[in-house]
Amino acid sequence: MLEVQNATKRFGGLVAVNRASLKVAAGSITGLIGPNGAGKTTLFTLISGFERPTEGRVLFQGQDISRDEPHIRARHGIARTFQIVQPFAGLSVVENIAVGAHLRHAKRADAMARAEAVGHRVGLGPELGKSAASLTVAGRKRLELARALATEPKLLLLDEVLAGLNPSEIRDIIPVIHAIRDEGVTILMIEHVMQAVMNLCEQVYVLAQGLIIAEGPPTEVCDNPLVVEAYLGVGAAERLKRGSVHA
């Protein structure tokens, strides 16, 4: 469904993403993990169109979309959430979601009906009439998810929707993400919460210093010495192994 081919993004002398390639199969939940500053969010901006790759291409359903504006990509069926939540603070929750719903529904009544349905689905039912500014962090994360879903995407890009949530809130939202996928939406997610990655993702890509250093099923990737070293430093994999032998 989505294919990134050798994407590179330079900001002046800094190479944020370096010849990264990845594939997201239709109907899958694919994870993108990596230490802080690895370039995950930058890679997301290349896919969603907020930045254009310096080199390389982004293909969506076989079509080259590397040069398309974000709103064009949204029309094609790519929706994203923001790591730092971006609610329309002056609007109510349902009006927030309706902006997304308007992408496919011209009439206000249709968009509002759609927005309410999506709001209920992500668990914002009781909050629909409230001001978006009054939501808690968990509520705002759900709102990000709801707005993106309301655009009726084929591919959903989730940028750390679980960050900042407590364990019970995470437990509540994981089934929601599962359900979204089961309805046929492909998901690519950046996530630090490994419990969620293990739980949700079929395929994981690991990005470190702009490079994709590993890919595969989550359990396999976590055992990869390169990945362990990217997170914990050079030699860490070796030390861990010795430690487990001694134990």
Partner: protein, 325 residues
Amino acid sequence: MTFRDIVPIIILVAFLALVPVFITANTVLNFLVFTLIVALAAQGWNILGGFGGQFSFGHAAFFGTGAYAAALLQARLGINPWTAFAIGSAAGGAVGWVIGYLSFRSGLRGSYFALVTLAFAEVLRILANAATFTGGAAGVLIKLDVRPENFQFESRGAFFWIALALVGAVLVLTRWIERSRFGAQLVAVRENEAAAKALGVDTLRVKLGAITLSGAVTAAAGCLYAQYFLYVDANIAYGTWISVEAILAPIIGGLGTVLGPLVGAVALHGLGEITKLAAGSVPGIDLMVFGALLVVAVAFAPDGILGLLRRLRRPIRSSGVSGHA
């Protein structure tokens, strides 16, 4: 938008339409017509600034374009004033589109956008003041020829009704914006442009639509002004006074609301007139009241008069089920 959405507007306009039946004093009607013209200009500003969050400081560019177009097309080219009115309004929309295209394309927003619009208005003022076609500093006179087909009327009441009809039409237009996809996207751009883009909003197109509509409405106010006073010059048409009035009225009445600009214009000019009557011959006293009112509005009623009324009403309403906004 359904018919029910505009019923309150129809009632309000019908009520206001009765005013000239009871009040025939020319000074009062003069004041009312002028207030309506300011309200119309402010309604134009409110579409872009109130709903779209793009604060223009140069709506004189549109007001003046309308005023000059109406005056010049009649005085120089002998075009029928009603036609001139339509062309003038369209010209304002076109100027809006051009200014919008140049500034939004290059990503100007906030104070940068405000400064650029101010610059456009000032350039137009200087040009109009210098060119011979526009009559230079002497301005343009429209020949007195009182016939309805000539957009000139015996009674001021007739002019009041026309101004009111235009204000009413824009109230309906604004109500439509509030209930439409275009409006939802415009407000989304105001609240958070990046988020709007991610949700598939073509932010450039939405902003251009808003500034074009906004320019056309404010230009219509300019046409009306020229037609009423039968004279324009650069400092009237492109002067900063109208840019300021067009901003003040919505801020005091209620930004991004349907009635805000009208309420604000009436409040501002009503108070201005009352002070002038009370204080007699102190020059500029009404402007001091404008300033004081702005300070009070910003400090105590950040959502304008309408926001204040809503806040005062809320405690009674919130006892019920929390409805949808």
